[in-house]
């Protein structure tokens, strides 16, 4: 008997040259080859928070409190967009998921939303605040 896995949907950005109808007409192997060629595979990578940081709200500010073997003399404040991403990443998400969700919640007059999210994930994986889910 197979082990039950919660159903999950992830958004993978499409940056290729075919339109939706052309993509739908591809065979499975053609689609796989197409995605490998044009889709940044990083977009299918899943990320989530390092759950040794506990999110607390103190005096109106959202703060990460370290637990476990993390250094205990540093807390981390987050602005509202960082808090939003942290809340999203309580469950594994792709960068595409985060961008989609952020665009539902925020206006992006500067056009920097996608770059900010990519940079945030890339940097915070290096610092250990965000984990990549294998």
């Amino acid at each position: 008997m197979k082990e039950y896995v919660s159903p999950a949907v992830h958004i993978i950005e499409h940056i290729g040259t075919l339109d939706n109808e052309q993509i739908a007409a591809l065979s499975d192997s053609e689609l796989e080859a197409y995605l490998l060629e044009y889709s940044d595979l990083a977009h299918s990578r899943l990320f989530r928070v390092n759950d040794r940081y506990i999110l607390r709200e103190i005096a109106g500010e959202h703060v990460l409190v370290p637990t476990g073997d993390l250094p205990g003399n540093v807390m981390i404040t987050m602005n509202r967009t960082c808090t939003f991403l942290w809340e999203q990443l309580q469950e594994p998400k792709t960068i595409g998921d985060l961008i989609f969700a952020a665009k539902q919640r925020f206006d992006d007059p500067s056009g920097e939303l996608e770059n900010h999210i990519r940079e945030f994930i890339e940097y915070r994986v290096k610092t250990g605040h965000i984990w990549e889910v294998k």
Binding site: I58, A59, V63, L64, V65, G72, N73, V74, M75, I76, T77, M78, N79, R80, T81, C82, F84, L85, A102, R105, F106, D107, D108, P109, S110, E112, L113, H116, I117, F120, R124, H129
Partner: protein, 161 residues
């Protein structure tokens, strides 16, 4: 739902000492930085200075020399506000120390009881000044600290838990 404007996500580290961490994670209440700054500093009482009973020029801790005669002190009477008037006197020779103190409002306490409206009157003058201040009686409830930053919402919070 109205959308908010996107801003660059930011995380900022706050480093703190062990005592503050423990207080933030269990004691409850909010601790403010109460700046004791109302009135003119009496250089000869702030920071453990001495009282003098003769008219003598003395070198002060600030590096300047001051007249130390008692009547030249900057000190104030402090009263609790009573509907815009002088109420109970809570300070008899108050002078600001210029320091910021950790002032805690415990869980369940009313902030208006801990930090209350008051009035200062300069003892050096014959006029009755009515200088509005916010008063804190200190951790033991038996002292008198006054700040000219009247609204606690403008104070910094040391920690909250």
């Amino acid at each position: 739902m109205e959308k908010m404007v996107w801003e660059k996500p930011e995380m900022n580290d706050i480093a703190f000492g062990a005592n503050e961490y423990v207080a933030a994670c269990g004691d409850g209440g909010t601790t403010y930085w109460f700046t004791c700054n109302a009135g003119q500093i009496d250089h000869h009482t702030a920071r453990g200075g001495e009282w003098y009973d003769s008219s003598t020029w003395k070198e002060c801790w600030c590096g300047e020399t001051h007249l130390t005669e008692y009547d030249d002190k900057h000190s104030y009477r402090v009263y609790k506000d009573d509907n815009g008037n002088f109420g109970t006197q809570v300070g008899f020779n108050y002078s600001p120390c210029g320091e910021s103190h950790e002032a805690t409002v415990k869980t369940g306490e009313s902030i208006e009881d801990v930090f209350f409206k008051g009035w200062m009157d300069d003892k050096r003058t014959d006029e009755v000044e009515k200088i509005e201040v916010t008063v804190w009686r200190g951790p033991g409830g038996d002292n008198c600290h006054c700040t000219s930053i009247l609204d606690y919402k403008n104070w910094s919070i040391a920690y909250s838990g």
